[in-house]
């Protein structure tokens, strides 16, 4: 954190303003995207700071920063994200994903402490049932259960939406069949 403070205090105003404009736009977008898939605040902050430092070091003038092409900002942002992650891995400090988007509980959800099936064993059984799916459907179902929608899954796999929908529906049907065979029915999670 210290190097960022020194950096912020020593730069001329013109560069600072240009950096602020570019970085603020990027940061807003990262936050909007991050909310969808539970990025932590420290994820976003670390990434934005890294991008800021990289742009400042590489471009060094307000005009260059404002004129930087989108492709340059894109390469800088992705490269910055990879460096943030490498440093975290080296320090063994990778944060886990947040539970549920923004930590929001399901509407109407009011799990009691003694809910019969709400225990670790149930979660592990469901994990085992997912792992038993055939490979072509398993990754798609995992992505869906992890919070990705069909269009995102299709985009990440380079599939059409109909193909994705078909494999997802078949995979979810297989999963329910597995769970039923294991004695886990609709009432399992209260």
């Amino acid at each position: 954190m210290g190097r960022y403070v020194v950096f912020m205090e020593s730069q001329p105003d013109a560069i600072s303003e240009a950096l602020d404009a570019v970085v603020a736009r990027f940061a807003s977008r990262v936050r909007v995207i991050g909310i969808q898939h539970s990025l932590t605040g420290s994820d976003v902050d670390d990434l934005v700071q890294e991008v800021r430092v990289r742009l400042w070091k590489a471009l060094e003038s307000g005009e260059k920063i404002l004129a930087a092409p989108a492709s340059y900002i894109h390469r800088t942002a992705v490269s910055a994200a990879l460096d943030v992650l490498r440093r975290r891995r080296a320090r063994r400090e990778t944060p886990a994903r947040l539970s549920r988007p923004s930590g929001v509980a399901l509407l109407g959800e009011s799990p009691g402490a003694d809910a019969p099936m709400e225990n670790e064993e149930l979660q592990r059984q469901i994990g085992a049932a997912v792992d038993d799916l055939i490979p072509g459907r398993r990754a798609v179902v995992k992505m869906y259960l992890a919070g990705y929608d069909r269009l995102e899954i299709a985009d990440l796999l380079g599939w059409t939406e109909p193909k994705t929908r078909n494999l997802l529906y078949r995979g979810l049907a297989d999963l329910r069949e597995h769970l039923t065979a294991m004695g886990i029915g609709p009432e399992a999670i209260q």
Binding site: R25, F26, S28, R29, V30, V32, I33, G34, H37, L39, T40, D43, V44, L47, A70, I73, H74, T76, A77, V78, A80, A81, L82, V84, L85, R92, T94, P95, A96, R97, S99, R100, L106, E120, Q123, R124, I126, G127, V130, D131, P135, R138, A139, K142, M143, Y144, L145, A146, G147, L156, L157, G158, L172, L175, R176, L179, G185, P186, A188, I189
Partner: protein
């Protein structure tokens, strides 16, 4: 069991795995996670990698950070809320 209930349950499973600590010996290197975001590998490799990433709370967080950086700075960047 509804889709939403399945999602909730899977979410709790990932939280359990996160609580279990960081054994990253089976995790792919960062460069492969970046390749996944860029769709650089073939379909079988992407499916295999996603199979792990979507079941690992640490890899999933890493995947999302790279993906967010890419999407936020790309030509098809997500709209900014006014």
């Amino acid at each position: 069991m509804s889709d939403e209930r399945l999602r909730l349950s899977y979410d709790r499973l990932l939280a359990l795995r996160a609580d279990g600590g960081q054994d990253r010996t089976a995790c792919p290197p960062i460069d492969r996670i970046a390749a996944l975001v860029r769709r650089e590998e073939d379909e079988d490799q992407r499916l295999t990698l996603l199979d792990h990433v979507m079941a690992c709370p640490f890899c999933q967080a890493e995947f999302e950070l790279v993906r967010a950086a890419s999407r936020a700075s790309g030509e098809q960047a997500a709209p900014v809320e006014s």
